[in-house]
Symmetry: C2
Subunit: 436 residues, 2 copies
């Protein structure tokens, strides 16, 4: 079954807000076994929204619309859907009760403007929005028929509309996400009887997309028909996602299955972990499970390693802290890097990055430490050490390892992101190889 | 003039990648005086892309297409545009030279697959992509006419196409952004002779959107017709953007103009700075200009302050370094917070955050230091100190100030982002009030 998404809002077109809703909805629908065919973003303009709704409803099984449900006058979705479905606005007791409840929790008085949030087209079904006052509205052919007495475009059309659903959701991300999970997707699955979907993520590092594709080609070509492989590149790493549609073969995606072992046989040396979305999530899970603590000593990554880890709830269980040693003085004073080392080898050198990692491990009292020092650019490069020359070290109780990365021709942000991911991969390999 | 954007890629529909390109392009076009009418996202499917291109080209003055230009077989944009414009693929000497140059820089050998990147439809003009191997291609009616001998849909249509432009760009964000700025927007402005646009950003902190809107209403209502005001909320702050279309009244947006003074008279106490996109950029500019150095001591923000600053090239001029003091031991050992302070007041307290700021300033040898300590959530809250209880301190040579923030009911990421921005605003106010 095909889904079309319509996100309404001037702020999206003007680029004031990044449209994360489309990605969130896409991901949730895919995980529920549905396919998104098209996403359209239009502004708060009646004709533009009408056209997008009309196109979508005639080409998809389900249409999900977000935005334009607020109480202010630039929010016109409700009025438009009312016109489109030849209905009239009525006060929904369910929606009104919800608005009253939310205002009571917030301790605000219910004004007429807010009460108007409970007005909905008569032909829709209200799906209760537990997190906000804007109603979530479902329109389907059953409801529509009740309201189509006059010959109208919908009944006369040769389109799919008689079997299709349209759902209007608020654009506030956390309300939309809650409604998708708890109200919309269950209704879509019930209505369209979709397949079960099983996903499996495999994190890969140290090999480019095209080289990996060549390496695992025989394995990929032998995948069962209902298992699909996607290559999802991120900075300095790749995520492979296997998706199984339907019950059949889904057991092939359980850990250590023959199918997965076949992948390891070809590319195992590049596989860093499974079942995580990101390498920072993998580090988080692994260190938490193994009861190992970590400290960081960051120069060129400037705090990005620490902030990626601490973005995850519960990171205080293993993350002791870190030093962002941007200047040489701080490398000496906070991490104990020797002045003579900096003089002899410079800040971007194997000797320095090793002392940074060892200093962080000892001074911050952690089992493991990771350190970075490099030239992120655009300035600061020399002939011997051009922009993109970056050292990473990982210190453990049994020793310290350092590697030199080289990213010629990349930009500052890429250099930082690649270093963070390669650092996480190196940390995971070290933990595994030491059996920690 | 109206612009339509088409972003191509399965990964966008599946929600594996958030479509930041649409927002970036929207923002850049608005700043250049153009309006985005609609954004469409479609997968790597020939018919879906064709339909989106055909709809857009018949309803907009310019169509910008991103994605589907890679060397692998799922990238079909070039082939499709070649078919759509009844052209043929030829090797472009300009594009080939660019591919050669980039491979030489990276030190890789040029393979046939990579050489194929230089194939483009004969009817297009190549806009050189300095940052990547995928070509940027411009199609306009002049070029099209040369290639339309047979009666075809384009020539026969009653559409705007004879005056319209279509540009195909790579989907890689930094390549797209560079091309938009340096190649595409200049061409669009030249072709459509758009108005001069002057933008003015004003960063505001400490007041909510609706309260600010009430406060400055008389000033806003008196704005000249060709000056528009937008409220752009971000975490814990607001950006006001004034946009002047055309030469007339543009001098009203120069510093200290009567128009701006009128805004300061009403809301000056909330204005943190001007002419920056973000507060981190304002801190960067201000500290660089004034020759002041900074150190950080972060607990709940976990390195986000340091990484926001070091994301900007040149930050080593003022940023000495920082400590991410997640555990109490690190607060003591790396920042010199007294054990007795932590025992008596806890980590999330005014006393601790003051000692953190002072410790960072002294130990890392900076003029100024900023410190954060709080409960980001979702766990760790108590009745006296619920999730969202956060202390910030700023230390200077003349003393230390601390403030308590309280964000009830927010999520971890919001708490961190709001704290970072409020911290930057506090730092700027301190620098200004001390005349540093």
């Amino acid at each position: 079954m095909d889904v079309s998404i319509i996100n309404i809002g001037d702020e999206l077109l003007l680029g004031q807000v990044v449209n994360t809703n489309a990605a969130t909805m896409g991901r949730m629908l895919v995980e529920a076994g549905m396919e998104v065919k098209r996403t359209v973003v239009v502004g708060d303009v009646y004709d533009d929204i009408w056209q997008a709704v009309d196109e979508a409803i005639h080409s998809s099984d389900a249409v999900l619309v977000t935005g334009g449900l607020g109480p202010t006058k630039d929010d016109i979705t409700k009025k438009l859907l009312c016109d489109y479905f030849h209905s009239e606005l009525v006060e929904s007791p369910v929606a009104l009760e919800n608005v009253r409840r939310i205002f009571a929790v917030r301790g605000f008085e219910l004004t007429p403007v807010n009460r108007a949030q409970a007005l909905v087209p008569k032909c829709c079904e209200v799906l209760n929005n537990d997190l906000g006052t804007a109603p979530c509205m479902l329109f389907n052919s059953e409801f529509q028929k009740l309201n189509f007495e006059k010959g109208d475009t919908l009944q006369n059309s040769k389109s799919k509309i008689q079997n299709s659903l349209l759902v209007s959701l608020p654009g506030v991300p956390f309300e939309m996400e809650w409604l998708m999970e708890n109200r919309v997707i269950p209704r879509l699955r019930e209505h369209f009887r979709t397949d079960v979907i099983v996903n499996k993520n495999i994190l890969v590092q140290g090999i480019g997309e095209s080289f990996l594709s060549d390496l695992i080609e025989p394995w990929e070509l032998a995948l069962p028909e209902n298992i699909r492989l996607a290559y999802l590149p991120a900075a300095g790493m790749l995520k492979l996602r296997l998706t199984c549609r339907g019950e059949k073969n889904s057991s092939l995606l359980t850990p250590h299955s023959p199918l997965l072992e076949g992948l390891y046989a070809l590319a195992g040396q590049y596989i860093v972990g499974e079942d995580c979305e990101t390498l920072s999530e993998l580090v988080h899970k692994t260190l938490t499970e193994r009861g190992l603590t970590l400290a960081t000593a960051e120069s060129c990554t400037g705090g990005s390693i620490a902030s990626a880890l601490t973005a995850q709830a519960g990171s205080s269980a293993y993350f002791k802290g870190g030093v962002v040693a941007y200047s040489n003085e701080v490398k000496e004073s906070a991490l104990g890097v020797k002045h003579s080392t900096l003089e002899a080898h410079g800040a971007v050198s194997e000797a320095t990055v090793r002392e940074m990692a060892e200093g962080a491990r000892q001074r911050l009292g952690a089992d493991l430490a990771i350190a970075t020092s490099g030239i992120a650019g655009p300035g600061g490069g020399t002939t011997e050490k051009p922009v993109g020359t970056i050292w990473i070290a990982v210190a453990t109780p049994s020793g310290t390892e350092a590697v030199l990365l080289s990213f010629p021709g990349r930009r500052r942000q890429q250099n930082v992101e690649c270093t963070v991911n390669q650092g996480f991969a190196m940390l995971m390999k070290t933990v595994r190889s030491e059996g920690k």
